[in-house]
């Protein structure tokens, strides 16, 4: 770890890689929130795949390998892809998800054809365009990082300015439209920002896996919060963490592709969030359920003792465990429940298996019955 920190300040490549992947994680994490909340997670997948022919065409037209030009191509192609998706949905009966699938595969297929074609051109300097498939963090230059920083800054400014409009679009677009907001335009603005976020990540994560950076951080963040702002913040943080740790791992270890490593890191964050987040986490829900169940059966045992002692007109008379088990529906838990009640000072153990209410237990049971009879 210390080694990493030291190289961060001294090593030019490592610094670029770390900053670049942090930026990509922050931006895709933040904007991915909208895609996930609008149940349009596939959008990220479609845009990133649609970007591939843009990269290839940009190279063929300019013969340049500069990321600025190639990513401009990716942006245009991704954007056209998105417009075509809504076009297909508007003019035909094909649904959103199908349209996304069609555009994704058609564009990606076309991109692969172009890529193969480019590689067969002699003297094409073997452009190395195929690194855009799985990403290669080590190729990030300082210029790329500055470009990423500028684009991220512009995107965040837009998100800040149109926070209210984007929220309306995500929660209730029809209502927004009735208020007079041009929701179609706001939608295009939001999609454009998502396209930017994806294009920024292509160099590092690659076309194939970039969609994970849109979906996964947001899905993980949703587990931890019920506020949109916090969700955006957490999602950006998760994205940045995954981006940096994945990119550093892959750029310091040879033959480890960047995209897949970043995606593995974010997947671990998602799994952890699914399991352990309070309220929404699976483990949390499991324990909540059992705590609840325990409380109910415990109350049943306490009340059984209470009714028995009322019947015998003797508050602290003791009864055998066998008897209590026989009259309680869930007999297996009775002993455990009695121990828990004893810990709270509501029952007392006499001999080896005779249980009796304490005065405090009697009063508590009385309170419970009063409360239920009131309701």
């Amino acid at each position: 770890m210390l080694e990493y920190i030291k190289t961060f300040f001294t090593d030019y490549t490592v610094r670029n890689v770390a900053l670049g992947s942090a930026l990509l994680g922050i931006l895709s994490g933040a904007l991915g929130v909208y895609a996930v909340l609008r149940k349009r997670s596939l959008v990220g997948d479609a845009i990133s795949h649609a970007a591939l022919p843009g990269i290839a065409l940009a190279f063929m037209l300019t013969q340049s390998r500069s990321p600025l030009i190639l990513l401009a191509g990716a942006f245009v192609a991704g954007w056209i892809g998105m417009l075509m998706v809504s076009g297909v949905v508007n003019i035909s009966r094909i649904k959103d998800d199908t349209a996304l699938g069609i555009i994704l595969s058609v564009f990606f297929g076309f991109g692969l054809v172009l890529l193969t074609f480019i590689q067969k051109i002699p003297d094409a300097r073997q452009a190395g365009l195929d690194k855009y498939l799985f990403g290669q963090a080590a190729t990030l230059m300082q210029g790329d990082v500055i470009l990423m920083a500028i684009l991220s800054a512009v995107s965040f400014l837009m998100m800040y300015l149109f926070w209210k409009e984007f929220k309306l679009l995500t929660f209730d677009p029809n209502y927004g439209s009735s208020l007079g907001f041009p929701m179609r335009l706001i939608d295009i603005m939001q999609i454009t920002l998502i396209v930017i976020a994806i294009v920024i990540g292509l160099q590092t994560v690659g076309v194939v896996l970039m969609s994970a950076m849109i979906i996964a951080p947001a899905a993980a963040a949703r587990q931890w919060t019920d506020r949109l702002f916090m969700m955006v913040l957490l999602s950006a943080l998760f994205g940045a963490f995954a981006g940096v740790s994945g990119a550093l791992l892959s750029s310091t270890t040879s033959k480890l592709p960047t995209g897949p490593v970043i995606v593995l890191v974010i997947t671990i964050i998602v799994i952890f969030s699914m399991l352990f987040a309070p309220n929404r986490g699976i483990v949390w829900k499991y324990f909540q359920f059992h705590r609840h169940k325990m409380r109910i059966t415990m109350q049943t045992v306490l009340l059984e003792l209470y009714y028995l002692s009322i019947k015998h007109n003797y508050r602290t008379k003791s009864y055998s465990l066998t008897l209590l088990q026989a009259i309680t529906p869930d007999r297996i838990g009775v002993k455990k429940n009695l121990r828990e009640l004893e810990r709270r000072g509501w029952v007392r153990l006499f001999g080896s298996s005779e249980w009796a209410l304490t005065d405090a237990g009697f009063e508590h049971a009385q309170k419970i019955t009063e409360k239920t009879s009131q309701e």
């Binding site: 995500t170 929660f171 209730d172 439209s177 009735s178 208020l179 007079g180 506020r227």
Partner: protein
Amino acid sequence: MLTREQEYAVEVEDLTVIYHEKPVLWDVDLRVPTGVVMAIVGPNGSGKTTLIKTILGLIKPAAGHVSILGRSYNQRRQVVGYVPQRNSVDWDFPTTVLDVVMMGRYGALGWIRRPGKAEKQQAHEALEKVGMSKFAHRQISQLSGGQQQRVFLARALVQDALIYFMDEPFQGVDAVTERAIITILKELKALGKTLIVVHHDLQTVTEYFDWVMMLNVRAIAYGPVKDVFNEQKLQMTYGGRTPFLNVVVAEKNAGNM
């Protein structure tokens, strides 16, 4: 004196909406005078929601014309409030009740400007009116169906509109919510607002509304409840397949005697 245009809160002429070559609304005419509380009734798929959405400019009609107080919707949107069906949104969205209600002010705020103290105050007042003050800071996924409906109503109230469109506000709500909605309807009517409500319960039409529109793709009839809400029109609307109609009409006649 009111000009002819301003007499009508909502005026719909020859409205036709077509979805995938099938007419959903066919040549619908409607004139709703200002200050009227009108129910739109009709069987499932009769175009009730479509009519509201088309008036609000959410659906483009194939033919016809809509005007609000004599002008186009876009010119009048500041005076129109809307309560969509509550299941039209995802209630698991990460936000609070107060935040949703404040959305009602977004139209008046316009681009970029954020809701501030004044908007918060209005939202709290509206929540008070619908009996949801205690829930202001609740996450919206924790609400029951009736509470969700009241939040949507509060959101429309802060729009401070002249004409309100409500899509099935009574659908599947509890008794408390139903009473709250009726109280609000009465208050709004007393203030001279025009209310147009998609409604599914024929039993309560006479009780809650003073006008009714009967719709089944075509406008079968519209007007004051006492004039048009009769057996013949109901059978034309529902195709006479619903035996309870007779009961409704019988009750209504008994009430009129």
